[in-house]
Amino acid sequence: MKITVISRQVKAGEELRQDFTGIEAAIRLKEKTDAEVWALVMGEETEAVKQVRDAIAMGADGGTALVPFFAEEVNGGAEQASGVADTWIFAEAFAAVLKERDFDLIISGGFPTDGDTVPQGLLTAALLGIPAYSHVDKAERAESGKALRVVRKLEDRSIALESELPCLLSALPHREAPIYKTMPGINRAYAAEIETLRVELRAEAGKLSLLGTSAAAVRKRGETLSAVSTEEAVNTITARIAARHLL
């Protein structure tokens, strides 16, 4: 089974948010079935190449760094500048890359990055015309062979389903059982030549216009007690809770 994992790095202010949810899900599936895992990481070149190497160190067979660029400015560059973009633009860019690839399964993640990266994977599948499932907790090859057994985690229960292939799974993180890099993996990762692909983002694929931005309202700082006795701290806390009729 050929598995392609898609992820996009997101900048939140100075912080770079990377998403290993998809790659971890792919490695877990690879441990149970014969599979080849390829990581497609979209982001700034140096960081994207680094994440592809991390994916290989964790067990991926290889990967490609996708370096996005806008052929033209969107909203005078405002959208790029604010780090905000349109799910459609990225989904279309991923779909264009995937159309050129051979895959049985696509896995996306996105929960550790931002609200856009989950729908971005699902919309990519919709553009490719393949089934897509969100909140996927587990996947394994179905007994029938050609299909996949998928377990989705809903709020009050889990649902097991069988999906035809190819399809896309939007995976949930398994924080209790992370996939670690291995020594042979790290050696392979640094010996590997990582391919970089420049991917054009089409502004006209976007369906939102940015009207403006403003600073988020800042909550006013209240009273801060430092160097108070434990007794005073406890009494102040209970008094404040009681004053709000919550005791």
Binding site: G83, P119, L127, G222, R240
Partner: protein, 341 residues
């Protein structure tokens, strides 16, 4: 004036055991305010499961409660097969031709909204923090950027429809009640004639119920939240005891999920839940913007942190600079004494 029918707001709703979910009531509350300010009507689509209940009564009651003009419904869609749900939702959207589709950011709707967006060629904006009227008849959608410190206002390009998802706690729930006299038009969508379910590629196998019940922290009046400063799973035992004494629930920051100290459903913040309880007690939480964006609308915030420079103090109504070990045990003891335990 926009054509009322063409430009309605369509809500993608959810029910559980015949009762509309709290998040669905919140969507209706937000949509009612928006509709009033831009002269539009509100419709809904409520897929329902198979059950002994008389769905027509339940649906009629819910539609009136939520103040809807029209309610589309389809039977036999209880979230087991999300692609069938998507097909039915697309049928509702094609009939209604709304200007805005609003859905909750839930496992039920996350995948279907993307199929709806693809079908409608609609703008898609997830985890919005607000929606308001804009210009003559436009709808403005607001969402913080990834850092949470900048609010971005969007509108759908070229008068195309928009789909927005919102997390729990974004809007105040619709009040409903007997003052609602409007009777909604109920439209049953039938599998086969209104929407097709062949060729989805998805086959339901089984439902799995876990013994552990995830709590909905967005419903809690009081939250006791832990961060990295809690130190480990043992520290959470203390928070649980405090929450129990206060009649609240335990929440946490992302760091605790990554450390494996807490369950995913407990996470507050940008990648977790948005909460607005009456009291939020932040224990050992530094107050990174991603966390604060999910709790800053709490009515009252108490922060306990040993680092006097922790940004959590900037949003707290009461800040205590102290280590948790010094404050929590005596606080728990005092509350136990007051309760006579």
């Amino acid at each position: 004036m926009p054509d009322k029918r063409q430009g309605s707001i369509l809500l993608l709703l959810e029910e559980k055991n015949g009762k509309i979910t709290k998040l669905s009531a919140e969507l209706a509350g937000g949509a009612a305010a928006l509709a009033a300010s831009c002269g539009r009507t509100v419709s809904g689509f409520l897929p329902v499961g198979e059950s002994e209940l008389s769905w027509r009564d339940v649906i009629t009651e819910n539609a009136a409660y939520l103040g809807l003009d029209r309610l589309y419904t389809a039977v036999g869609l209880d979230g087991r097969e999300s692609r069938r749900t998507a097909r039915a939702a697309i049928a509702a959207v094609k009939r209604e031709k709304p200007a805005l589709v609003l859905a909750g950011s839930t496992p039920f709707w996350t995948a279907p909204v993307c199929e709806v967006a693809r079908e409608m060629q609609a703008a898609l904006l997830c985890d919005c923090s607000g929606a308001s009227a804009y210009g003559e008849s436009g709808i403005l959608l607001r969402r913080p950027d990834a850092s949470g410190s900048v609010l971005c206002d969007f509108a759908a390009k070229d008068d195309r429809p928009a789909i927005a998802t919102v997390r729990p706690g974004t809007f105040a729930a619709a009040q409903g009640g007997p003052q609602r006299e409007k009777r909604a038009e109920i439209i049953f969508l039938r599998e086969g004639s209104d929407y097709q379910t062949q060729g989805t590629g998805e086959h339901f196998l089984e439902e799995i119920f876990s013994r552990r019940k995830d709590k909905d922290i967005s419903r809690a009046r009081i939250l006791v939240a832990g961060g990295r400063g809690v130190g480990g799973p043992k520290g959470f035992e203390q928070l649980r005891r405090l929450a129990e004494l206060l009649g609240g629930e335990v929440a946490c920051s992302r760091a605790c999920i990554e450390a494996g100290w807490a369950e995913t459903y407990m996470q507050v913040g940008q990648t977790g839940k948005t909460v607005r309880p009456e009291l939020y007690i932040a224990c050992g939480i530094s107050g990174a913007i991603q966390h604060v964006s999910g709790m800053k609308d709490s009515a009252y915030i108490i922060a306990i942190n040993k680092n006097p420079a922790a940004p959590i103090f900037d949003v707290a109504d009461l800040g205590i600079v102290a280590s948790l070990e010094n404050v929590l045990p005596p606080l728990i003891k005092k509350l136990e004494e007051e309760k006579g335990e």
